[in-house]
Amino acid sequence: MQIDRWLPFASMLVTAIFAAAVLRRYVRRRRPYLLFWGLGLVFYGLGAFAEFYSTLAWSPLVFRLWYIGGALLTAAWLGQGTVFLLVRRGRIAFYLMVLLLIGSALAVIVMFNTPLNAGAFSPDRPLSVQYKTDREAGIVGILPEGALVRKLTPIFNLYGTVALVGGAIYSSWIFWRKRILPNRMIGNILIAVGALSPAFGGTLSRLGMPEFLYISELLGAVLMFIGFLQATAVPEAAPSPRPSRA
């Protein structure tokens, strides 16, 4: 279906521009959280690219990149960025990053050692509809039933969602409580809503409703980008207390 081709294409474009903006800011400011957000967005874009490519042709490499980028690592590394932004005590953020790095490397190894059933692939259906096998329901998918990599997904996504969404809600709550910086408060709310969107899309997909995944990814990318622009915008200068010369 055409829409299943163009939704991931649009997500890919938005995340590419978003990642470029975040990484450009990292180059200027050298803050680690920007680097990890940028990395998370690269995974996001990689997942969207794989979804788009898979509407054209089959590639085991692209399928693996889709699962690694889209399902496993995006939320976790975006969340890691937020951990670096908010957790300043000791070296907690650094140790969590090391754990995530080891976990990610193991997950990539597991994914590349998982056999794929190319016969279950069709370019006419989104990957989210055809990746899983459920023999009880008579569904034969690309990944084998009980694949270890599917058991790893919730761990990464739980960490990412708690850190990214929880961090954005916490930040907006701080600005709301202090009644300051409305642009950052609204920006963080948009980031939280945007991050929740693919989290719900992924969960619904897991619960047997995969048709919402692609639209939730596009919506999430757009909202997070607007939230990021809003949160990083320089607020308008307050009126000068000096009397006018007129």
């Binding site: 919730p154 709310i189 939280a192 809503v193 929740l196 307050a238």
Partner: protein
Amino acid sequence: MSRKGHPPHRAPEGSFLYDRLVPIVLVVLFALFLLISLIALAIGLGLLGI
């Protein structure tokens, strides 16, 4: 403090944004956040059988 050294401007009392809209949005967001985290936890623990 802002970058120019002035304290950030505080929203006035009775502000629609700070006193009405954002509190509701934050409560709804937090509820959705708890829901999605609990579902992910349940999936991770194998409680949903998927």
